[in-house]
Symmetry: C2
């Protein structure tokens, strides 16, 4: 049975982007704001999710034993939010940022202090092998169920399925949601749903940040505040982005082999791909051009080095061309 504290948890759920009307969230029941209420001044914090690839796995740069992102307050001198974020990151790490995008803005009421904290999160890509002083952590240390490149995560998914079935109980709509989000019951696994999966686990009380008492929770590193939710947002966004954008190239070295490119895509998507089809499609799009150079391997035929062809970048982006993710069953 679901304890009553579940309802309490529900009320603390962060705002969700729902793609359709949520009937059980009657906004007319909200307490109306008294008209004498005063607008407030806010502290504004810029949070940076810095993504890079090492060891064929997506990593983030963290502070405080993996539980925080680089961040800093918005200053008067900052001429835009993005520039402010870049300034803080440079100051803290000296890194140059590649593809950058705003993720989401949250409010955090600081009760009793008479003002709110607004937190604006960004995601930025960092080229492989850049030097910095921050600790790298695999994204999949935080969300072990999101890496489905091999069968290693199958037992975990099986555990999750069991817990969710228990949580769903006899609520068919709830189970329907679980099944589609986690690719159970004939549904296909959709890698872009990382955020929805995290939110579902949150609601089900299967992650430590939403658990009452000492209920058993799933493996996965925690973070401060709601940073883990920001990370889930980033994962969803980057998986969506690499599909119709040449953003991956900001994670790879300037020159790379097609296998490296494929492995980077696989690392981000958390899925293995069909090699021949991958190459076919990549080359169709003319996103890359071969260089004169070759990789120097320890063994085997040396791989041709390619580079990103920026002339076609705008082209690719705009024509809606996408890097293919031919899934492997």
């Amino acid at each position: 049975m679901i304890p009553a504290s579940c309802e309490r948890m529900r009320r603390h759920l962060p705002d969700k982007e729902r793609s359709y009307t949520v009937p059980d969230m009657p906004s007319h029941l909200e307490t109306p704001i008294p008209t004498h209420a005063q607008p407030v001044l806010c502290e504004t914090e810029l949070v940076a999710v810095l993504v890079s690839i090492s060891n064929n796995t997506p990593h983030i740069l963290t502070l405080d034993q993996g539980s925080a992102f680089p961040s800093g307050p918005l200053m008067v001198e900052h001429r835009s939010l993005q520039k402010g974020m870049r300034n803080w990151v440079e100051q803290q790490t000296g890194l140059k940022l590649g593809h950058t995008e705003q993720l989401y803005t949250f409010a955090d009421p600081l009760h009793g202090r008479g003002h709110q904290m607004v937190r604006i999160s960004y995601m930025a890509f960092i080229r492989q092998n850049c030097e910095h002083t921050l600790a790298e952590r695999s994204i999949y240390d935080y969300f072990p169920w999101e890496d489905r490149r091999d069968r290693a995560s199958d037992p975990l998914l099986h555990t999750i399925a069991g817990r969710l079935r228990h949580w769903a109980g006899d609520n068919p709509h709830r189970w329907q949601r679980c099944a589609t989000v986690f690719g159970l019951d004939n549904h296909a696994w959709n890698d872009e749903l990382s955020l929805q999966r995290y939110e579902l686990l949150w609601e089900a009380g299967l992650v430590p940040e939403s658990t009452w008492q000492n209920a058993p929770v799933l493996p996965g590193l925690r973070m401060h505040r709601d940073y883990r939710r920001i990370l889930a947002t980033a994962l969803s966004r980057m998986r969506a982005k690499i599909r119709y954008t040449p953003a991956v190239f900001d994670l790879l070295p300037r020159q790379f082999t097609l296998l490296q490119l494929q492995q980077a895509m696989e690392a981000l998507a958390g899925r293995a791909m069909h090699k021949q089809n991958f190459r076919r499609l990549v080359q169709q799009q003319k996103l890359v051009s071969r260089t004169a150079e070759y990789d120097s391997p320890t063994q085997g035929r040396p791989a041709q080095l390619y580079q990103f062809a920026p002339e076609t970048a705008e082209n690719c982006y705009l024509a809606g061309a996408k890097l293919p993710l031919p899934a492997i069953s």
Copy 2:
């Protein structure tokens, strides 16, 4: 020739989401923030782009003769940004909101006042025929070139092409960009690129808000501040959203004919569609179910009324199913 003031304009360009590294924006040339700088308190404003459909055309609800959106400051009492926005909208209009999503957060340095203004924009859908007191304005009054459902916009596009060609001059990369964004030279028109098109026109000095002197500009209503850019963001986002989300149903009446659904999609996408293919795909996805009722037309065979089938909503959203946009040449 491009006057020097163009460079001045460029510096005021708002941050862009670029999908790849922009080589000509060397962030290491930014003035470093002095370490004695103080974090500041910000005024925070919540801005709402409220979208509805009337007359087979997407409209927005506006204030101040179409030049502003409903908005209000974030208050201490607001328990989240989205709830704050909903509160303001309800207070100003009494409307219930459908599909809601955060668009983007901007900063607006208030020089000399020692703090910044942070503006958080939301988009929300409003069901057809809802009553309210605000003025409705067609989105295409602001961006006439975005409505390509018939040949009426062809002359305008031709004008734009000429101006852009002049602006591009002998810079092939620049022209390449124009061609892909505006679907010139064999490129297909991509309706999701409204924001990129607006930004391009901004850079080219073809919209009044970026024009020096009395240079000739394109038709289209203006708005206060950078609200027109927010609207372009909203248009891009809604066009992207309706493709893989049942969000359209929050714009239609509870019961609708398939033709109404198609016309709503066409209105949002700004493109005409192939009727038979549209129906084929919509029904494949089981997104709608027929009701017992029929439309009462003035003439012709009465159309069957359908309703959104919410059981399959989660399904559709998550399986990546999409409402089809079969384009008509």
